[in-house]
Symmetry: C3
Subunit: 352 residues, 3 copies
Amino acid sequence: MKTSVAEIADLVGGKVIGDKTISITGLSGIRQANPGDLTFVASDRYRPYVNETKASAVLAPLDIKEAPEPVSLIQVTNPYDAFLRVLQRFQPSPLSHPTGIHPTAIVDDTVKLGKNVAIDAHVRIASGCVIGDNAVLYAGAYVGRGSLIGPDTVIHPNATIREEVRIGARCIIHSGAVIGADGFGFTSDREGHTKIPQVGGVIIGDDVEIGANSAVDRATFGQTIIGNGTKIDNLVQIGHNVQIGEHCVISGNAGIAGSTILGRFVTVAAGAGIAGHIEVGDGVTVGGFAGVTKSVPAGKTVSGFPAVDHLVERRLKAGIRQVPDALKRIREMEQRIHELEERINGTSENDR
Amino acid sequence: MKTSVAEIADLVGGKVIGDKTISITGLSGIRQANPGDLTFVASDRYRPYVNETKASAVLAPLDIKEAPEPVSLIQVTNPYDAFLRVLQRFQPSPLSHPTGIHPTAIVDDTVKLGKNVAIDAHVRIASGCVIGDNAVLYAGAYVGRGSLIGPDTVIHPNATIREEVRIGARCIIHSGAVIGADGFGFTSDREGHTKIPQVGGVIIGDDVEIGANSAVDRATFGQTIIGNGTKIDNLVQIGHNVQIGEHCVISGNAGIAGSTILGRFVTVAAGAGIAGHIEVGDGVTVGGFAGVTKSVPAGKTVSGFPAVDHLVERRLKAGIRQVPDALKRIREMEQRIHELEERINGTSENDR
Amino acid sequence: MKTSVAEIADLVGGKVIGDKTISITGLSGIRQANPGDLTFVASDRYRPYVNETKASAVLAPLDIKEAPEPVSLIQVTNPYDAFLRVLQRFQPSPLSHPTGIHPTAIVDDTVKLGKNVAIDAHVRIASGCVIGDNAVLYAGAYVGRGSLIGPDTVIHPNATIREEVRIGARCIIHSGAVIGADGFGFTSDREGHTKIPQVGGVIIGDDVEIGANSAVDRATFGQTIIGNGTKIDNLVQIGHNVQIGEHCVISGNAGIAGSTILGRFVTVAAGAGIAGHIEVGDGVTVGGFAGVTKSVPAGKTVSGFPAVDHLVERRLKAGIRQVPDALKRIREMEQRIHELEERINGTSENDR
């Protein structure tokens, strides 16, 4: 990229403090920036770096009013939004989707392909699938019998969509994700474990993103469901018959066990686990590393294991930090009580 | 499917309360059911839904004796087993394995193929492998040099079996699973870490299932072993030289570190971790999110981190919940002791 | 292999106690060894097994001076190093890399291939990539547009390298690993979540190893960086814009959230999580299952959740174990104080 502080200030509607003519050749985080870079301050955490950054210009909130020479400030109300606007204007996407059907792709004769579908090398699409308009399947992707891929959906390299999975429009399925593997269900006795056939499917709504190496199991019967607009990070496990509502956000390494139901706009932070057969209401936030063992009413924030109301958990954690001191105080009190008892008994005896 | 309440009652040996002639066209969980569906009540948790379900018929335990109109009850001793029987009778598997050897599969000339082996598109089998009768390798599966795939075993799309891995009969290896990647072993000094060659293999018994995106590392030397009948869920990590006995069940996101030995019928719940170089005895149950740091004798149930006897852990967790209150009581006691001391000292002084 | 105790003692510079002529035909761990095997004792934990092992010979530290007949001891200063030397001498690697360019590999015309590159079946390399001398790409591997693979690097089957990823020399990328999937970034409002384009890349240094099914996300802008010599185990999640220094070791199931910076020689044990936007100094050790929520200064060892100094955490855990007893003591003290108060009040009243 090649632009100037003045042009960027124009683009984002910002006010320049410093040299407007400095040329900008790159974009970077504030700690990694080099001369020529534009960077930004989006949170208080990064404010001190304004004085250290090697960037040539900083998109900053209105209350940052100076930066050391030769850094130019561009004041805006929302620096991160402004930075994203610059990003979209100057930084091209690294993606350039394949086009057409590669001759090494093996697409069953019964598959219905929409308009302008792109299928790269070594893709395999089994019988009875329907692929929507403008869908893109990168190399090594697999789509099992009877599955539907919605229009404008992108399936990244080496992702696996198993049988009878329905994926909506404008979804992004990242590499290594596995949608529709068997749910983990067995009947057990002293001889061992007998597999319960997993004959259900998976339904994924529109505008869903599923991260690299995540797994969404097919239902034992019926459907595992991911609602419209839900975003799932990498290495997340979604068990069989789980139902996730619209616009949820589930971060990396989280897991949701079988038959659990999540409402809308639920946030699950990284590394959290949610037990099976429970309900998590609309707008719930599950903290990082939390283990949710019981249903959670709408709107609550829970953390800890077993997860409880976040304020309760904070009080518990604060309490735990005082335990070593409390144990010392208990020993001291026991001594003082003992001494009081001795005194009183002594007094009493003397009294007699 | 198209059947009736009467036919289903016949199939499962149940007693109908309500209209036997109602036609059944689908199977579903009790909360998701629609008119025409058969559902079931398998645990107390789902009992209340009998009064709310939209299903046309419910497989219910003997002590549920009525349901609101127009729901028909089918009383059976084990509703879940009965439901599975209906499932197997009426719901076809979504799987229809590929057949034959696809022309795009690249199978080394030295590979020995059993009878009726199915190898789908873009499979790669390296030199010296042996593939048992009726084995199925889905598209994109990889089998490395010198590996054995037992009869009737199914390798799902994009699963990777590395070199010198032996997989038994009737196993199911799900998509994205990686069997036989290098164990994680290094010798370290101030200059960095030097890789210890991982020259051992992996032996997987019969009737083993390994979930999507799970990893079973090859041994440094000798073998990593998974016993007959053991079932492993998605996103599970099994370290090098681990030995897992027969009929274990290991749930999603769990991890077992190198050289640890599990006995038979061990259950590891979701998200649990087991440290390296320890032994976990037969029949042990490891609770969800537990972190096992020491060997566990046969038959025990452990939970927490570091994991201890489950009853001890429950008492600890119950104790922790009382800590904020206990801290308050400690402060109050200190005050009361102080007052007693003042009184006694005062009394004493007065006495003198 | 076929050698003798005498030959092995020669190779490792050890002293034999017992029969030097015994022939050695295999290598094994001390618990799994059979007659004919050489094994070793590398830690105190395994010392007792010297008296039980079925191995024919044991590499043992100098202070182990006898073993029951017919086991021969080979005394050395470092048994594990000695065993590794034997391993490297006698045990061939199970790997035998493919050679040449397989005709089913689809390599874009614009790709620059170094000397002696090996590309196995069904590999896909997109436009503009550069593949270094002696690099090996196993079957089903994918390399996206504009990526660089350094010399002598090995990409295992079904690994995915996305667009604009730079991988250094002598790296090992295991099967199912995904390098360069989109970072997990959205702007959210009441309508839902809007994807922030992830236009940055990934830079991986020299001599890096990345385990099976691990994921390293591309940067939102700028680069996600993994330093030279860093070793990452299986099923590890590295978020966007993370910077990891040289010679770090990150064990299985761990996760590092976006924009966090790790110094050099940081050790992250299995199952640990590190929050986003923090800094972890050189030489820090993060304990197993720890959850690091704040920056950690160089040289510290932290554990627990939220992670604190390991000694503090140990004191907290020790304190927690005493809580049930402490609660009992609190109840007893309250009773004793109550009795004292009664006595004093009684006394006082009597005094009046």
